[in-house]
């Protein structure tokens, strides 16, 4: 019941005209950003982050998280009406969403997508509400070695479980880690890799890198492909919404399954994409008539949307609790927390209760307001996509530049952003994954600090990472995940040997 009281306090914090209007502004900007080609969730949040620098942290996070919900909703609009996934996790939504739009059921598909996103997020927020106080207790057991072990686990899981070629993942990750090393070393105060350039003293800010890697490079890619947008019109009216909602109870199994998968995968890093595909595939496997999937089934929209949004929301839990972002956008929000002078991590729950519970309350409220807002304004946002790209592209470039400059008031950062734009474009074309690079840029220096602090504490003894059950388990798990491809294939071979010969299929 402690959670309930704290949550109520969070709602009280939110109930001011200023915060509620910021919420609506955030949602509208978010949908806008999610709909525009070349701007996805992480990017839009990164560009608009400077708007929040002069706000107090709670207002800032309310606005930014609403931007995030807005962008998630916006991604569904482009997937269904234009067959263009706004984010990687909307890909699965296009499988059945676009065919539905082709059959003239765009309004039903959109209603289904928005409502199931809402349900997915709601389940995840309820989970966060009840897990958060426990995390606060757990928090006090975390010291530098534990933090290092958790960061190590994140990196190792990327290498071990990533689908791209391993050497490309490693290159991308080491490049990111090296870039975070530039500038003043926080432990010894020495200058590293600056080569006498004063602009490099500040180091490479990861928000600048993200704006370049995703914003500028996305413009280059979009321009190259010269997408011809042919969208379907959608008019949502209350009757359609009600008719669609009435069919929902039939699919409650699918929705709950997807929500569960989403929550689970969202807490483990990088899970939202996997969650949407898994949600879709499981819905397909459990369906009686599997062949009709992909031809425009409503549960083909419900399943991936519920899972993706449950994952997207659940991703905020490890971000707040451990300082580990579960998704690209969560990584940006993490950057925001640092700018506002809050240190994400277990102690946040103890020291900044009002902030944490304000955030959680805003997740509830933001999703409800968002659902109403998108249902009523879809035609307006769909019209945005008909604006010529030649007008939108330069405006996105300008927004990126403003975002990059505002972070540290440095002209050099605009140049850096441009450089990262080219890097991101080339990496995308050559199938080098950008996620490990971003993750390394966010966590790099914190990982090194955690490692060196634990070394100072333990007098340079590496056994500190196995010094108690908690840290030992995490470290071992990290190493297992790192070598998972090897271990997995060993298991498979062993399984083949053990399996009865006759039954092999």
């Amino acid at each position: 019941m402690e959670a309930f009281e704290l949550l109520l306090q969070g709602f009280v914090t939110l109930m001011t005209v200023q915060k509620l209007s910021l919420m609506v502004v955030g949602l509208i900007l978010g949908v806008f950003v999610g709909v525009l080609p070349g701007l996805g969730g992480p990017n839009g949040v990164a560009i608009l982050l400077p708007l929040t620098f002069s706000m107090d942290p709670t207002s800032a996070i309310v606005m930014l998280s609403c931007l995030y919900w807005g962008a998630l909703f916006g991604g569904a609009i482009t997937s269904i009406l234009f067959n263009i996934p706004g984010e990687a996790w909307s890909v699965a939504t296009t499988f059945d969403g676009y065919p539905m739009a082709q059959k003239g059921q765009a309004a039903q598909a959109l209603t289904a997508a928005f409502t199931s996103s809402f349900i997915g997020s709601l389940v995840a927020v309820i989970l966060i509400t009840f897990l958060a106080p426990r995390i606060a207790d757990f928090a006090l057991r975390f010291g530098p070695p534990e933090f290092f072990a958790v960061y190590l686990l994140t990196f190792c899981s990327f290498v071990g479980l990533g689908r791209e070629e391993k050497h490309k993942i490693v290159i991308s990750m080491t490049l990111g880690l090296l870039l975070t090393g530039i500038g003043m070393d926080t432990v010894s105060g020495q200058l590293r890799m600056t080569f006498g350039f004063t602009d490099l003293l500040r180091g490479v800010n990861f928000l600048v890198a993200v704006i370049g890697l995703f914003g500028i490079s996305e413009i280059l890619v979009t321009m190259e492909e010269s997408l011809a947008l042919r969208g379907h019109a959608a008019h949502i009216n209350p009757k359609v919404v009600w008719e669609t909602w009435k069919t929902f109870p039939r699919y409650w199994g699918t929705i709950m399954r997807s929500a569960f998968i989403g929550c689970w995968l969202g807490i483990t890093p990088g899970g939202a994409i996997a969650a949407s595909f898994m949600g879709y595939n499981l819905a397909k496997r459990f369906a009686r008539d599997k062949d009709t999937f992909g031809t425009g089934r409503i549960d083909g929209v419900l399943a991936p949307e519920t899972a993706a949004h449950a994952a997207g929301t659940a991703a905020l839990l490890p971000m707040l609790a451990l300082g580990i972002p579960g998704s690209g956008t969560a990584a940006i929000l993490l950057g925001g927390l640092l700018v506002w002078g809050l240190n994400p991590g277990p102690l946040l729950f103890v020291e900044h209760k009002a902030f944490v519970w304000g955030t959680i309350a805003s997740m509830y409220l933001g999703n409800i307001v968002g659902l109403v807002l998108v249902l009523s304004t879809v035609p307006l946002f769909a019209a945005v996509l008909r604006v010529p790209f030649a007008a939108i592209a330069p405006m996105i470039v300008v927004s990126c530049a403003i975002g990059a400059y505002a972070i540290q008031n440095a002209m050099f950062d605009i140049w850096l952003m441009l450089g990262f734009g080219v890097l991101g474009y080339v990496f995308k074309k050559l199938d080098y994954p950008l996620a490990p690079l971003t993750l390394a840029l966010v966590l790099g220096s914190r990982t090194e600090d955690a490692f060196r602090l634990s070394m100072i504490g333990a007098g340079g003894d590496l056994r500190v990472f196995w010094s108690n059950g908690l840290v030992g388990t995490i470290t071992t798990l990290a190493l297992v995940l790192l070598f998972w491809p090897v271990i997995g294939s060993l298991f498979e071979r062993a399984g083949k040997l053990l399996r009865p010969v006759g039954k092999a299929t």
Binding site: V170, T174, D185, N409
Partner: protein, 173 residues
């Protein structure tokens, strides 16, 4: 999006660079970067002191790891010759990428001298008129409204300071 289809007329699908060649160049550049950063970290000190690693320890071994991975990638590309001969970019695509990259570069340079708002006015107007082939009055009007909206949002409403040039100075900002 109809504007965009009327860009360079004939579709030219010949690739002007192979993915493999670009990959080799990228890996060589990263290898060079790894050597440079590794060398600098040695200068800072890459040993393991009594209380743990020195400042250059992590950068040094990360450089080694990155360099080694680059060499691995290079050998794979050179051994498996011809297997991945797909194009990196066609001539037609390259022109379009340049069409957006060069104005962006010009915009950044202009920001240095004219300030961000004037530069963004020039970028949006120029891009719409020249690349998008839209009517001049439409381009200029849109772009003016955009730059003004940005100025009001950031400079006035949210108090976020942007680089400014002579024009803003003339108005007392």
């Amino acid at each position: 999006m109809s504007q965009q289809n009327s860009l360079p007329a004939p579709e030219d699908d010949r690739p002007i660079a192979k993915s493999r060649s670009v990959d080799v160049v990228v890996l060589l550049l990263l290898l060079a970067l790894a050597c440079l950063l590794g060398w600098d970290s040695t200068r800072v000190g890459n040993a393991w002191a009594d209380d743990g690693p020195q400042a250059g320890y992590f950068p040094f071994y990360l450089s080694v790891l990155m360099g080694a991975t680059c060499i691995f990638g290079l050998t794979r590309l050179l051994v498996a010759s011809g297997a991945t001969a797909d194009g990196f970019i066609t001539r037609h695509q390259f022109i379009r990428v340049i069409q957006v990259f060069v104005p962006t570069l010009a915009f950044v340079i202009a920001t240095e001298f004219l300030g961000l708002y004037v530069a963004s006015f020039l970028l949006v107007a120029g891009f719409m008129w020249w690349i998008g082939r839209m009517a001049l009055w439409k381009s200029v009007l849109t772009s003016f409204l955009f730059a003004a909206a940005m100025f009001l949002t950031f400079e006035i409403a949210f108090n976020v300071i942007m680089p400014k040039g002579p024009l803003e100075a003339a108005f007392g900002f």
